[in-house]
């Protein structure tokens, strides 16, 4: 991976970040967070490029956060906070991009899942029909008994001739 140094940039491709207390003073106007370093990476796999960019930015965020703890000067702290805000936002954007890239595959898998759910619903209905059939038979027998009892009661009202 080729490493290019841009003078005055707070984030330098491939170079470790130097905390302000031990390096030259950096002006706010010189703070630029460069885009993910796709042009500096030889790998052609998009995900590998994404991951390298992400890892570099995360390493910068961790280092910057650690340096903030040791920085006492208010002005330098403010500058560092601005930088860390930008790094954090960039990393969140990369994470969002990564998760959105899974959405289509999840949608396709969800449709296959729906087929299995439909098959199980159909099997469940067939199983429920077994106990329903027996329950209906019991109702029919009860209904027949009620009808016969009704007939019996009706016949009992007539005197024996």
């Amino acid at each position: 991976m080729s490493r290019k140094k841009k003078t005055g940039n707070a984030i330098v491709s491939g170079q470790p970040w130097t905390p302000p207390s031990s390096g030259p003073a950096i002006k706010a106007s010189e703070v630029v967070v460069s885009k993910p370093m796709a042009s500096n990476i030889r790998s052609t796999d998009p995900h590998a490029i994404w991951q390298q960019a992400h890892d570099a930015l995360q390493a910068a965020l961790e280092l910057g956060t650690h340096s903030l703890d040791q920085t006492k000067d208010k002005q330098q702290r403010d500058l560092l906070n601005t930088l860390l805000d930008a790094l954090s936002a960039e990393l969140t954007a990369l994470n969002q991009e990564d998760m959105e890239s899974h959405t289509i595959s999840l949608q396709a898998a969800s449709q296959q899942l729906d087929t299995g759910v439909a098959d199980l619903k159909s099997l469940r209905q067939e199983i429920d029909q077994v106990s329903s059939a027996i329950a209906n038979a019991a109702k029919v027998v009860t209904a027949v008994d009620e009808v016969l009892s009704g007939i019996q009661a009706f016949l009992a009202t007539f005197p024996v001739l």
């Binding site: 990393l91 087929t115 098959d119 199980l120 027998v141």
Partner: protein, 312 residues
């Protein structure tokens, strides 16, 4: 008189045939098959796992929201406070797809539990008893010449019950292996994709985003302490420093919940595959071991999300 004797003879034949049928069917239909038992156990653990999976996304949305709020509060003097600037981490349409997938997984697990569980057999038992009681009541009616004794009615009910159970077991034995086989690949794919979503705290996904959000929350809190250290009383300073400790503990617990969710999902896919592969086997000791580990994961996961951390 003669017709009554014939009716009684017919009833006796009916009773003895019923008892023979009941005995045979009982031997093959009364006991749930090994597949039904294994599927039922898997389905319960899977339902518990999927119920908690959606909470993994909620956990990170909540910390992202908290981090944005902390940032807005800290920058109030420069940028004011505009609630419209608060955005969800995942856009609505992407979140909806994930919710649909997780709910689909839950439905699948619940339907599997329903199809392979004992409730349908209990329903058959209840219906058969009711039929036996109805037959006995009908037989006692004076207009019916043929009489059933209570033993005959019980035997008839048992035969019908055994027949019903055998029918249900036959359907399960035939259809469940096919469904499990067809669902092997989709379940593996879904579990792998959600696991990818959850990611790694150093490299990608929800766990990484959680870590970034907590870095921001801790940084804002440290900034507050540093900017106000001259004005805070010792007691106030200690309380603010305690917030740092609470945030660190919260991050640790939240990351553990996400990591365990990943593990549980990997186990869900593994156990489902094992279930599909052993569908026609009577004994499956390897499956049993995997199932025990999966059930333990599901229980641990539930207790982790039930005690999810509070944030300042």
């Amino acid at each position: 008189m003669h017709s009554a004797t014939v009716s009684q003879h017919l009833l006796w034949r009916c009773g003895s045939l019923s008892s023979t049928a009941a005995l045979c069917l009982c031997l093959c239909g009364c006991v749930p098959s090994p597949l039904a038992r294994r599927t039922s156990a898997f389905a319960k653990a899977a339902a518990a796992t999927t119920a908690n999976t959606e909470q993994a996304y909620d956990l990170v949305e909540n910390t992202y929201h908290q981090a944005q709020l902390a940032h807005m509060v800290a920058r109030y003097d420069e940028a004011g406070f505009d609630m419209a600037e608060l955005k969800p981490f995942l856009p609505e349409q992407d979140r909806k797809v994930r919710v649909d997938v997780i709910e689909g997984l839950q439905s699948y697990a619940e339907l599997l539990a329903g199809v392979s569980g004992d409730q349908s057999l209990v329903d058959v038992d209840t219906s058969a008893k009711s039929l036996g009681a109805s037959l006995q009541t009908l037989s006692a009616n004076k207009l019916i010449a043929a009489k059933l004794t209570s033993t005959d009615a019980t035997l008839a009910a048992s035969a019908i019950d055994a027949l019903g159970r055998a029918l249900i077991e036959r359907k399960r034995r035939r259809e469940l292996p096919i469904v499990l086989h067809n669902m092997q690949q989709p379940i593996e794919t879904i579990c792998a994709l959600i696991s990818q979503d959850i990611g790694d705290p150093a490299h990608s996904g929800l766990r990484d985003e959680l870590h970034i959000n907590y870095l921001d929350l801790l940084r804002e809190q440290k900034n507050y302490i540093a900017d106000n250290k001259e004005k805070l009383t010792p007691f106030e300073k200690r309380e603010e420093v305690r917030v740092l400790a609470r945030l660190a503990t919260s991050e640790s617990k939240a990351d553990l919940a996400l990591a365990r969710t990943q593990k549980a999902l990997a186990r869900l896919a593994q156990v489902h595959t094992a279930l599909a592969l052993t569908a026609r086997q009577k004994n499956a000791p390897a499956f049993q071991l995997q199932m025990e580990q999966f059930a333990a994961s599901a229980r641990q996961l539930k207790s982790l999300y039930d005690t999810s951390p509070d944030q300042k």
